[in-house]
């Protein structure tokens, strides 16, 4: 009598249904309202207008633009990662606490589909939020660069510099504006936020409280940001005539396996904001790394969640 199709493991349609419901949930929690103060911040940055430009040396202008980009990218990173932690920690333990999960799992829904749906939903909302912030950043940056260029050109013409030289100065300044390079920085932050969603997903499969999930996820995030510094310290002491001990190596290896390492993410974002050319192979490596972390944490989440009792 039942006309529903056989529940296969990993049905894209069912995953999308859960993802969609997650997105609806987050939207109705009014999460996008957080974008308003961020928009105010980005637009407000315009008013911190450096009156610093002095001559053909563009360092000061570059610094000013870099500050703008750093603040925007930093905000995006902070917002993305915090949002990743908080929303995942609210949604999944919430479902367990409210027992809404009962009714969902009593339908022919494989538990993996539920997890992937939640992950996808949160990541999608982050993607939209980041895209909006990205757009704001690009627009404000564009306006600022245009204003600077006009100012500089006028100044240089006044000083009677040859046109060719003016052009090269303009090109130098423009390179610090909104470029494709900058978008790699946004990508790095987005991927980091996605990995953090997967981390919070894993933690929320065995924790029962929202607060615990948030605390542990933030801890993992911070370790992910800084573990390379510690590991560098452990492994590269050789210069000072001190070889790493076996214990050091073991600890280092465990830390690097259990916790994500966000060094590359930060490096690419940093390079992007400095207007250094980002190497495509680095971007490829970044995507691969993010994919690997997502895969590991989702599979681990599933292992925990599979046999969970309610």
């Amino acid at each position: 009598m039942s006309k529903s199709t056989a529940p296969s493991f990993l049905s894209p349609r069912r995953i999308l249904v859960i993802a969609q419901s997650t997105v609806t949930h987050l939207i109705r929690m009014k999460v996008f309202y957080f974008l308003a103060p961020i928009a105010v911040l980005f637009v407000g940055l315009q008013f911190f207008d450096g009156l610093w430009y002095a001559g053909p040396d563009t360092t000061l202008v570059e610094q000013e633009l870099r500050m703008h980009k750093n603040i925007c990218l930093g905000t995006m990173m902070l917002f993305g990662c915090l949002f990743a932690v908080v929303s995942t920690a609210l949604l999944i333990p919430g479902d367990v606490e409210d027992r809404t999960l009962y009714t969902i799992l009593c339908k022919p829904v494989p538990r993996m589909d539920y997890l992937l749906g939640k992950l996808l939903g949160v990541v999608f909302v982050i993607l939209v939020a980041m895209a909006v912030m990205d757009l704001l950043m690009v627009a404000t940056l564009h306006l600022r660069v245009e204003a600077k260029l006009a100012e500089i050109t006028e100044l240089l013409i006044d000083r009677g510099l040859p046109e060719r030289e003016i052009e090269s100065v303009r090109a130098e300044v423009a390179a610090h504006g909104s470029t494709l390079n900058l978008q790699y920085g946004v990508l790095a932050h987005f991927l980091k936020a996605a990995v953090i969603v997967a981390v919070a997903l894993l933690i929320s499969t065995f924790s029962t409280s929202t607060l615990f999930t948030i605390a542990v996820s933030v801890m993992v995030w911070i370790i992910g940001e800084f573990q390379w510094i510690v590991r560098d310290g452990l492994f590269n002491d050789a210069e000072y005539g001190e070889l790493p001990t076996t214990a050091d190596r073991i600890v280092g290896t465990i830390v690097s396996v259990v916790f994500p390492d966000f060094r590359l993410f930060g490096a690419i974002a940093d390079g992007a904001s400095r207007a250094q050319t980002v190497i495509p192979s680095d971007v490829g490596q970044l995507c691969g790394l993010a994919g690997m972390y997502l895969g590991i944490y989702v599979v681990l989440s599933w292992f925990v969640f599979r046999d969970k009792e309610f």
Binding site: M1, S2, K3, F9, V17, S21, R99, T103, P108, D307
Partner: protein, 294 residues
């Protein structure tokens, strides 16, 4: 019985780990039961006797410590056993941000339904459970009885052959629980198997073909309801407008009959419940619920 049973619970044992020290609590001790397709089965027992635990094991929300459960022959631990079953949990709770219609639609989609068929099914179910007027209201302000009905609607969404109801009338007023009982009888007519549990005995009595009595995790009695509760050698008659003469005659007749004895005599009473239902009849149930919320 060559037919595959709708529900088969075999020697189900479920332990819960108590405190940190690992003292185990045995919630269900070797419970076995079978429900044939089309049957309405009632599991009754006091609070904490293991009713919900048995149902959760049947739905694969809990893994049995030992023993096994199956729905239409499919092991409960497998996802596809859930295709043919609808579950109404105890005190159901749904996403507060969704409306009644969105909630039912969400569960329909989870079962792989979509398009016009799903839309029609949602309207049909909301009508069936009497929530048409509330269809576009968010569940945030729903009363207990309304949540229970939404729970029934989502359980029925994919037209399952088996319905598992955990205390379907708990916390619902008598008019509401009467409607839920009528609904169960209606579903029974359509051939749907129902497995329900309750600690309210009269309700079970009215709808169930077979009952099991569970106490402290042990099935203490099981059987056909009629056989369990009828007193074979007694007959009850209720008379209307019988004067003292007629009553004397009957009493006399009983006295002269060998072996017969009048056990009790008195005014027939309505039950408090029936009285309540009669007095509150003119108010439609959902309107009342709407008023509750405002």
């Amino acid at each position: 019985m060559s037919e595959v049973p709708a529900v088969e619970v075999k020697d189900l044992v479920k332990d819960f780990r108590g405190s940190f020290r690992g003292r185990k609590v045995r919630a269900v001790r070797k419970v076995s039961l079978q429900i044939a397709p089309g049957e309405v089965y009632g599991l009754i027992g006091p609070n904490g006797s293991g009713k919900s635990t048995t149902m959760k094991a049947l739905l694969g929300l809990l893994a049995p410590t030992s023993g096994a459960c199956a729905i239409f022959g499919r092991n409960s631990l497998k996802v596809d056993s859930r295709r043919d079953v609808g579950f109404l949990p105890e005190n159901p709770y749904f996403y507060k941000h969704l409306t009644a219609a969105e909630t039912v639609r969400f569960f329909g989609k989870l079962c792989g339904m979509r398009g016009r068929k799903l839309r029609e099914r949602v309207s049909e179910l909301l009508k069936l459970v009497g929530l048409e007027e509330a269809r576009d209201r968010r569940l945030k302000g729903f009363s207990k009885g309304m949540l229970q009905r939404i729970g029934l609607a989502q359980a029925l969404v994919q037209e399952p052959r088996l319905l598992v109801l955990d205390e379907p009338t708990a916390g619902v007023d008598p008019a509401g629980s009467r409607e839920i009982r009528d609904l169960i009888l209606e579903l029974k007519k359509r051939g749907i198997t129902v497995f329900l549990c309750s600690h309210l005995l009269e309700q079970v009595q009215e709808v169930c073909d077979r009952v099991g009595i569970i106490n402290q995790g042990v099935m203490v009695k099981e059987g056909v309801l009629e056989e369990l509760i009828s007193l074979e050698n007694r007959t009850e008659l209720v008379l209307e407008n019988a004067g003292p003469d007629l009553r004397d005659q009957i009493r006399l007749l009983v006295e002269v009959t060998d072996g017969a004895r009048m056990v009790s005599e008195g005014k027939a009473r309505t039950t408090l419940e029936r009285l309540f239902l009669e007095e509150t009849r003119d108010r439609p149930a959902n309107q009342k619920n709407l008023q509750d919320d405002e």
